[in-house]
Symmetry: C2
């Protein structure tokens, strides 16, 4: 079978989350992604969490399905080989993805001397090119001061800006490659983590709220802004999130809990219109007060039985261990997942792309490569280096296999 | 000038965040995106926050640069018009993006009778097609139990799974359109919010940590896992986030604060190797104890002066109001932003795509359309309906202009 992204080759010189996720996203759609690393691995190669033998579960999870080439990029001869790899090949090739400073041998104008239609996407921390990471961008986003229930800032744990940047990278490269296929033109694409954050905060209306209404969002605990949403404790010590956005959700909640009549009393009592999202938001504390004993009287299984199939929007909170142990969606019964044996680590449940394409079957998944495991094949196949020359480069420490 | 995504037309039948963001992402790269809504607007049309006249800042922010067509999709004649729009046109057309149930007239097999190479991406809540929203997916992700400092779950406020799903949609549609341009084949693409969450949690190593090491991540407050990161109060009541991932960051922190010698005492005192990320994580409480008085003795401006340009990774916390008022990156000095006058709302600072493409200039940005403002032009230009026929459809309440 043909993969979806036939004849697309991306060279990645990257570290940490965003750029590796960008490359992996394209690899999962069938692109050939070659990650070039320094001989001992890049700065993310031993990033926590590690297994008991010191292999990084983080690196293994963010580099699945790539080919690994190890080159001493701090030496001119290594830089020459890397540059040749980046600029080699035909129509769908000549694409570079990096979060390294694009200067010296990685400068776009230097690289495009070798290939005029090169597409290069460079991720920086700030729009001015200065360094930043998800944590030093997130503190500026406003979200920590709107998270939790107190006035103290609370950091997110999911690296939102890295994840979004990685997906913008995949989108941007596909858009630029489409443009190149039609016009013959390559280009440099710039993206900063800060701009991803700023665009997203604005796209969600948070900055317009300040500019237009003169006030920023305040922390609401686990409540939902502008509609009804609240978390409840169950009798057996679990918690659930319950949401009613549309009138249909709201009616379903009253019916399924048998509390519709009592909930209806809140309208006149609080002088709010419970037939609107905004009215339910304004009356949320009274709504939660009526619903709370219902959940407290039931174990999670009883809540599930009472709400499932009723049209009520709800979900159970899980920690990571419960997610792995109890959630049926986290299993090979879900076509997203396959059991993959990872180099140096062993088997664990491994996702492919969440996109299910009707025209091509799901790929058989592979783990992250052993560092340098594709060096020999790539130098031979793409750069046409003879085996004695590859042996010389290995001997002299220019590449590792 | 030619936009990047020349001749790409996407029809969007959507609501809320993910699907509208997917469409807007493509519109910002130059695609023609036609959002079809019911006559009075879809369920997200009055979503909070609202301005004083009841216009939604949320809707305005998530639908910028689209064309709006209003059709009574609950009537057979309306469905016929919508179907004709979805399937009309040439090579880069015939692309549908939706988060509505794809049944009845929106069923893929029904639609492709009109256009065999249709590309349709449907977003659902769960992989089995059942409904879920960001809040009822997030509670299952494990992150709320790892956020904050207590054992209670803390919801994120940024709708991570919606944002990631929107960006996966843009990536998936571009990949499928590339495939169609090469093979002539259309396809249905399925994506669920739950799969986006599950894939991301796994891609970041959180589930492998449970499966391989037998333990899930616990809450760490605002600290960073596996390296050094902590937030500090300043003398003037602000807070800053400080991070040291590489050894270079770590040395810069000691030098800039003048505390290198005292920080070095932590190694033998705590029996940790401060030349490693893991050692700094293990010694983090002692590190924070040494650094804390340095920040408490300085106002934010003094911290900035002492740290800027030193290679220390740090950032100031801001709430949304401070982001708008104080952050120089949130201004039209940053090419990401333009001042746009939004229909019914007025001007506010508005981002385009965070991707900066060297081959095409930044677009002149526009706001979200007035509902139905493109109905007449689209029916005339794409469906070639004569003006008297459009007038009849308006009179009979099948479309609105």
């Amino acid at each position: 079978m043909t993969p979806l992204l036939t004849d697309l080759r991306v060279v990645e010189v990257s570290a940490f989350i965003a750029a590796p996720l960008g490359g992996m996203t394209l690899a999962q759609l069938g692109a050939e992604v070659i990650r070039i690393d320094p001989l001992g691995g890049n700065v993310d190669y031993r990033r926590w969490p590690l297994n008991e033998t010191g292999e990084s579960l983080y690196w293994a999870s963010l580099n699945k399905g790539k080919r690994s080439v190890a080159i001493a990029m701090n030496r001119p001869e290594g830089q020459e080989i890397a540059r040749a790899l980046i600029t080699a090949g035909g129509d769908g090739h000549g694409i570079l993805l990096t979060n390294l400073p694009a200067k010296g041998w990685l400068d776009y104008d230097v690289l495009r001397r070798e290939r005029a239609d090169l597409i290069m996407l460079q991720l920086t921390g700030n729009p001015d090119g200065s360094t930043a990471v998800d944590y030093t961008i997130n503190c500026a986003s406003g979200f920590p001061y709107a998270t939790g229930a107190s006035e103290e800032p609370v950091n997110h744990v999911v690296p939102v800006w890295d994840v979004a940047a990685g997906l913008y990278m995949a989108t941007g490269l596909l858009a630029a490659e489409r443009h190149r296929a039609r016009t013959g033109m390559g280009q440099k694409i710039s993206l900063s983590l800060a701009d991803v954050m700023l665009a997203t905060v604005s796209n969600l209306g948070f900055t317009a709220e300040v500019e237009v209404n003169g006030q920023g969002r305040r922390p609401l605990g686990n409540d939902l802004y502008g509609a009804y949403g609240h978390d409840f404790a169950t009798r057996d010590g679990r918690r659930v999130m319950v949401v009613a956005i549309s009138n249909r959700h709201w009616r379903a909640l009253g019916t399924a809990t048998g509390l519709a009549e009592r909930l209806a009393m809140i309208g006149p009592m609080m002088d709010v219109d419970l037939a609107t999202e905004g009215g339910r938001f304004e009356g949320r504390h009274a709504i939660s007060a009526v619903l709370s004993p219902w959940f407290a009287a039931r174990a999670l299984d009883e809540v599930r039985e009472a709400l499932e199939g009723t049209g009520v929007l709800w979900g159970a909170y899980q920690d990571f261990e419960q997610l792995v142990a109890e959630d049926a969606r986290f299993s090979t019964a879900n076509p997203l997942f396959q059991r993959v044996d990872h180099h140096g680590i062993g088997p664990f449940t491994t996702p492919g792309t969440p996109l299910g394409f009707g025209a091509v079957p799901r790929q058989t998944l592979t783990g992250a490569p052993r560092l340098g495991s594709a060096t020999e094949a790539v130098l031979a196949d793409i750069l046409k280096l003879p085996s004695h020359e590859i042996a010389r480069l290995v001997d002299q420490g220019v590449v590792a296999v």
